[in-house]
C-alpha cells in the first residue's frame, strides 16, 4: 500500500500494542500477586513474602491436588498419543467422505460446548463408576486432548512421501520395520507437539473436571475453582503462578524440540 504517513502507522502500532498489552498484562498480574504478605491480595504487593508459597506447600489438600493433576495429565497424554497417533495414521489411509466424517467425529469434542459434553459424561459416569475417579478424569481429558494429537500428527504425516514407504517395502522391510524406520521419524515432531499440547490441556482443564472430580480425585484447577468461589485467598495466586510456570516450561520445551526438528 502507498505510504500512509507516520500518523497512520503510529495509530496502527498504538492500537495493536494496546491490544497485546491487554492480552498479556492480566496474566502477568497474577505473578506478583502471589508474593503478597498480607491476607488480602494487593497488586503490586505492599510487602513481599513467600508466606503463601509456604502455605501452599504445607497444605496436604493443595499438594495432593497438584499430584493428582500430574497423574491425570500423564495418563491422559499417554492415552491420547497412542489413540491419536493410531487414528491419524488410519485417517491418512482413507479418503473422501469417510475421512471427512471420521475427522469430524474426532474434532467434535472441540466444537460441542464443554459443559454439554461434561454433563453427558457425568450422567453416564455415575453408572459406569467414572465419577470421582482418576480414570474418569483421564477419560474426560483424553476427549479434549485427542483432537490436538490427531491434528499435529496429521500435519507431520503430510511430510511423508508415499514413495519412501513403497521403497522400504520393496527392499523387503516388514511393516513394523517400515513404521519404525520411515514413518516414525517423520511424525515424531507432530507426536511430540501433540503430547505437549495434551499435557497443557489436561493440566488446565476445569469444566469436565468440576463435574467428574470427587474427594479422592481432585485436580489442581478443581481445587482452585472450589477455593475461588469461597474466598480470594492469596494461595490461589500461588497455584496460578505455579501453573503458568509449568505451562511456560512445557511450551519452551516444545519450541526447542520443534526448532531442532526443522533444520
Amino acid at each position: 500500500m502507498r505510504d500512509r504517513g507516520a500518523g497512520f502507522r503510529f495509530a496502527v502500532h498504538g492500537l495493536g500494542s494496546a491490544v497485546l498489552a491487554f492480552l498479556l498484562l492480566p496474566i502477568l498480574a497474577v505473578v506478583p500477586a502471589s508474593f503478597n504478605h498480607g491476607t488480602f491480595i494487593r497488586i503490586p504487593p505492599e510487602t513481599w513474602s513467600l508466606r503463601w508459597y509456604q502455605r501452599f506447600f504445607a497444605d496436604p489438600e493443595w499438594l495432593s491436588s497438584l499430584w493428582t493433576s500430574f497423574e491425570v495429565a500423564v495418563i491422559a497424554t499417554v492415552l491420547s498419543v497412542l489413540l491419536g497417533t493410531s487414528a491419524a495414521l488410519g485417517l491418512a489411509r482413507v479418503g473422501g467422505r469417510l475421512r471427512a466424517t471420521l475427522t469430524g467425529l474426532v474434532l467434535a469434542p472441540m466444537i460441542v460446548p464443554v459443559v454439554v459434553t461434561a454433563v453427558a459424561l457425568y450422567y453416564i459416569g455415575r453408572y459406569w463408576g467414572l465419577t470421582g475417579t482418576m480414570l474418569g478424569l483421564a477419560v474426560a481429558h483424553v476427549l479434549m486432548c485427542l483432537p490436538f494429537v490427531v491434528l499435529n500428527v496429521g500435519v507431520s504425516l503430510r511430510g511423508l512421501d508415499p514413495t519412501w514407504l513403497r521403497a522400504a517395502e520393496g527392499l523387503g522391510a516388514s511393516p513394523a520395520r517400515v513404521f519404525l524406520t520411515v514413518t516414525m521419524p517423520t511424525i515424531l515432531p507432530g507426536l511430540f507437539g501433540g503430547a505437549v499440547f495434551s499435557l497443557i490441556t489436561s493440566f488446565d482443564e476445569v469444566v469436565m473436571s468440576i463435574f467428574l472430580a470427587g474427594i479422592r480425585a481432585k485436580t489442581l484447577p478443581v481445587k482452585m475453582w472450589e477455593t475461588v468461589r469461597l474466598e480470594f485467598s492469596p494461595v490461589l495466586s500461588v497455584a496460578s503462578t505455579l501453573l503458568i510456570v509449568l505451562t511456560v516450561v512445557l511450551f519452551g520445551l516444545f519450541r526447542l524440540a520443534d526448532r531442532r526438528a526443522q533444520p
Binding site: 492500537l15 497485546l20 454439554v116 497443557i200
Partner: protein, 282 residues
Amino acid sequence: MPVTTTMRRHTATALLLLPALLFLALSFVAPMLILFKLSVTAKEGPLWAYGEILGNAVYLRVFWNTLVVAVAVTAISVIAAYPTAYMLTLLKGWALTLAVYGVLFPLWISVLIRTFSWILLLEKNGPVNRALVASGVVDGPVQFLFNNTGVLIGMIHVLLPYAILPIYANMLRVDGRLMLASDGLAASPWMTFRRVYLPLTMPGVGAGAVFVFLLSLGFFITPALLGGISNLTVAMLIELLVNERLIWSLAAAASFLLLAAIAALLAVAARFVPLGTALEAR
C-alpha cells in the same frame, strides 16, 4: 494375490482407526445419545422439557442474555483484532516473533487463571479502580464485577486470539500489488482500504467472528466467576439444573437447544466462510 494385499491393507487401516473410534463411541457418542434420550423422556411427556424451556420467560431470558453477550464479545473482538492483525503484517524479525507469541501465549494459560486475574484487577480496591480514582476519571470505584461488564472484559480477553489469528492469516495472503494498482489508479488510501483491502480480508474476519461467536455461546468459567446471578448464560443454566436443581431433562433439553443453535450457525457459516483454511492457520 492383489486382492489379499488390498484386504490386508483395509484390515490394517481399520485396526489403526478402531481404538480411537471405540473410545469416542463410548465416551462421547453414547453419552450424548443418552443425554438426548433424557431430554425427550421426561415423565411429563416427550417434548415437555423443550416446551418448558422455550415457553418459560426465565429460561428464555438466559438464552437471550447468552446471545447478547456473544454478539457483543464477537463485535468488540473483531474490531480490536483487525488493527492488531494488521500491525502484525507490518512487523519483522524479533518484533514479529514477540508479537505473535504475545497472541499465542494467552491461549496456553488456563481460562480459570485468566479469569481469576481479572477478579484481582477489577475488584473494588484493585489496581484498575485505584488508577481510575487516582486519575480523577471517576469519583468512586466502578462496579466491574458480577455484571455483564466483567463478563465481557473476561470473555474478550480469552477469545481475542481466535479473532486475531484467522484475520492475520488472511492478511498475509493478500497480494500487495493489488493495493499498488489501486493507488496507481489514484484511489485515496481510504478508498483503497474500503474497496480493495477490506473485501479481500473479509473471509478472515468472517472466520474469526464465527470462532469467537461459537466459543462464546458455550462459555462457562468466565461468566460463572465474573458475572452475577442475574446474568446467567446457557452454560451456567445447564450446570445449575444438574447440580442444584437436579432436573436432568431440562438440563439435557437446554444442552440440545444450545447444540442446535451452534449446528445451525456452523451450517450457515460454512457456506460463506472458509472455516477449514482458517482452522489450519491456528
